[in-house]
């Protein structure tokens, strides 16, 4: 019965989107975590999505999503002059994370919308399957 695959597909998308929500939460939470050098400052993280290999689902129809990995943003960290901060370097600068709050909010809304979409797909498929089970009664 192929309809059961819908649950795998929508489930894979839901877990991928929740990874994306997790990274967004982590980025926003660490938006003010300063470091004392370019290397130690927090870097914004973003997941990379890819379609699952067809072979895993058998045949050419219906592919799920998987998270290939989480990459760190390569944008330079911003310097801020804060000599009173214990994290400041010899010149009195701290390095702020390269988190862009606007980007993160957009990511958050997009991820939650996609998540809801997949929940809807799952609910509808569940109703279709239950109706099929009642066939002929």
């Amino acid at each position: 019965m192929s309809m059961f695959k819908v649950f795998d597909i929508a489930g894979s998308a839901m877990s991928a989107q929740s990874v994306r929500l997790n990274t967004t939460a982590s980025n926003l939470a660490n938006a003010e975590s300063v470091g004392n050098s370019e290397a130690t400052a927090y870097k914004a993280r973003h997941p990379v999505f890819a379609a699952m290999l067809n072979a895993m689902h058998g045949g050419t129809d219906g592919v799920g999503v998987r998270v290939l990995g989480v990459v760190e943003s390569q944008e330079p960290a911003q310097q801020r002059y804060a000599p009173e901060n214990p994290m400041a370097n010899a010149e009195g600068y701290v390095f702020q994370p390269n988190v862009n709050p606007v980007d993160e909010m957009v990511n958050m809304i997009s991820a939650s919308r996609s998540y809801q979409n997949n929940v809807e797909v799952m609910n509808t498929s569940k109703q279709m399957l239950l109706a099929t089970l009642r066939l002929g009664q």
Partner: protein, 132 residues
């Protein structure tokens, strides 16, 4: 009414299976709405239905070394088609959430309709069998 139960049900079982497969396809489009370079796919339901009804003769292979004319992809060998996007996206993804949602809704309503017709046929058969 024909004696064979299969023919009494007509094209409805085929339609139900194809609707189920198509819902899987659209679910995978929706699941990959944020995957870079993913291309949304769909099938021409009427063409696949014709094929399932034996509308087109399939090519036969007589040796294991022959390349099959059509591979069995769950849609009777009909090729999956790529959706033409309404607007291009930077990451090469062609999934339009609204289009896919609409297609999914249409497909599931049709699935339920097919189920209803099938229930009716089965009820008719039951009445005939019981002879009440």
């Amino acid at each position: 009414m024909p004696l064979s139960i299969d023919s009494a049900l007509g094209p409805l079982p085929d339609a139900l299976v194809l609707r189920g497969r198509r819902s899987e396809l659209i679910a995978s489009n929706l699941a990959n709405a944020d995957t870079p370079n993913f291309k949304a796919r769909d099938v021409d339901f009427h063409a696949v239905m014709d094929q399932a009804q034996g509308g087109q003769l399939a090519m036969q292979t007589t040796s294991a070394k022959h390349i099959a004319f059509t591979e069995d992809n769950g849609f009777g060998g009909m090729p999956l088609q790529y959706r033409v996007p309404n607007q291009p996206s930077l990451d090469g993804n062609t999934v339009d959430g609204q289009v896919e949602q609409a297609a999914f809704a249409e497909n599931s309503v049709n699935y339920q309709a097919t189920l209803t017709f099938l229930s009716g046929r089965i009820r008719g058969l039951m009445t005939a069998i019981k002879g009440e």
